[in-house]
Subunit: 267 residues, 2 copies
Amino acid sequence: MRVSSDPIGVFDSGIGGLTVVKEIIKTLPNENIIYLGDTARVPYGTRGKAVIKKFALELANYLIRKKVKFLVVSCNTISATCLKAIVEISPVPVIGVVEPAVSLAVKTSQNQKIGVIGTQATVDSKIYEKEIKKLLPNARVYTKPGSLFVPLVEEGLGSHFATWQIAKDYLSGFKSTGIDTLILGCTHFPLLTDVIQDIVGPDVTLVDSAKPTAEALKQKLQELNLLNKDSHHSIKILVTDAPSRVNKVAGNFFGNHLPVKPVKITL
Amino acid sequence: MRVSSDPIGVFDSGIGGLTVVKEIIKTLPNENIIYLGDTARVPYGTRGKAVIKKFALELANYLIRKKVKFLVVSCNTISATCLKAIVEISPVPVIGVVEPAVSLAVKTSQNQKIGVIGTQATVDSKIYEKEIKKLLPNARVYTKPGSLFVPLVEEGLGSHFATWQIAKDYLSGFKSTGIDTLILGCTHFPLLTDVIQDIVGPDVTLVDSAKPTAEALKQKLQELNLLNKDSHHSIKILVTDAPSRVNKVAGNFFGNHLPVKPVKITL
């Protein structure tokens, strides 16, 4: 039995999920949070489903052993490919980032034409089509992988002209679809908002998972009476590999400084 | 005790090392080869040294259990960061790709000014400076990481204008150094030969590890009387993750078709 002062466990293939942690801290400032990023094996988005599932369950089990009260899968690739498997092994409630983003996108779209960009594994999972059509059976959904966005962001080339050109290749096909909403289906992509908006045009609303996931988490905690009542709260950032690069890249996701230093752990 | 008909084990962080296998097959067509690529955890070049060593020893031990007669570390990142640790645990001889490439570069250079591009981990290891100066104490060595080359090649964007621009950022600093030789210190980089040559200019000779490593291996096998005398020989390609992507990308390294289908194994 978990109590409200237990931490929320957030896990991710790497450190992109810190964009979600940032929103959770804003939305739920009293919560204890343990973030776990698999920086030793990132990226997941180009891997096969069985490997992603194996790695994701290792991360989930680590946090379950740490007695978290709730699991947040902040990675789109994991949420898209194996959320069900995580729910099956978890003794505590689990949310992913796909449903909250879909829910917001469906409210945002006026013309029911919604685009999605994500990693190859996320696109291959077809989860966004499925979840959007659950809420809007007549929606038209257009998906496109944007695999190179991940290393481009991690190398700090978000504003490089080369990134703009690669983004143009990935995104210009959306022009002819008439989408009015584009889901940024990877935690790395909000760092490319300016480039993406420039290419898809000002009439397309970009939706990312961080804020709706934090709000969905708050609602679930309220429903389960699990909101932390203590004034004491803490944040831990755990990673499976911590070269100097992780600190640097993690800062970009969090807004140039991390609230705490990442700690290397072994799964 | 190993016999000459035992296979040669070649291992790599991913599938880039197939460029080395291709040269081994050309140079030593009678040999049995087992290639092991850690496609579930690639890339290594952006990770910390301790994690690279842990993963590399897992790969080496797998091949040792398969009773290989020789270990070839076809990955520059592993060769640069932890060859010594592999030699220490291996009951069979081991060669990496750094020494053979250095040996060729030192023979190639007329002015003793040698450039090296590799992954971040390879550059951080400073192994190329060390090995070059063992042979040429007065050499001037200039190194530069080219981390994004790996995903750009894997995504098939080797000829994309964006790749040329990123390469220009990485490489244009070599112009003022006066290097006459540039070591392509990563198995992925020979697939960018045209772009790299265009930027560094026609007077710089590009050196890659594949051919000198195959030749060094042949020499070692001769010295140890371990050349295969049987006419029967086979090639196995093992990978830790085998989504459709691996087949596709592996083909590019091997020259658009693989001699055998990769088989997924668990370490």
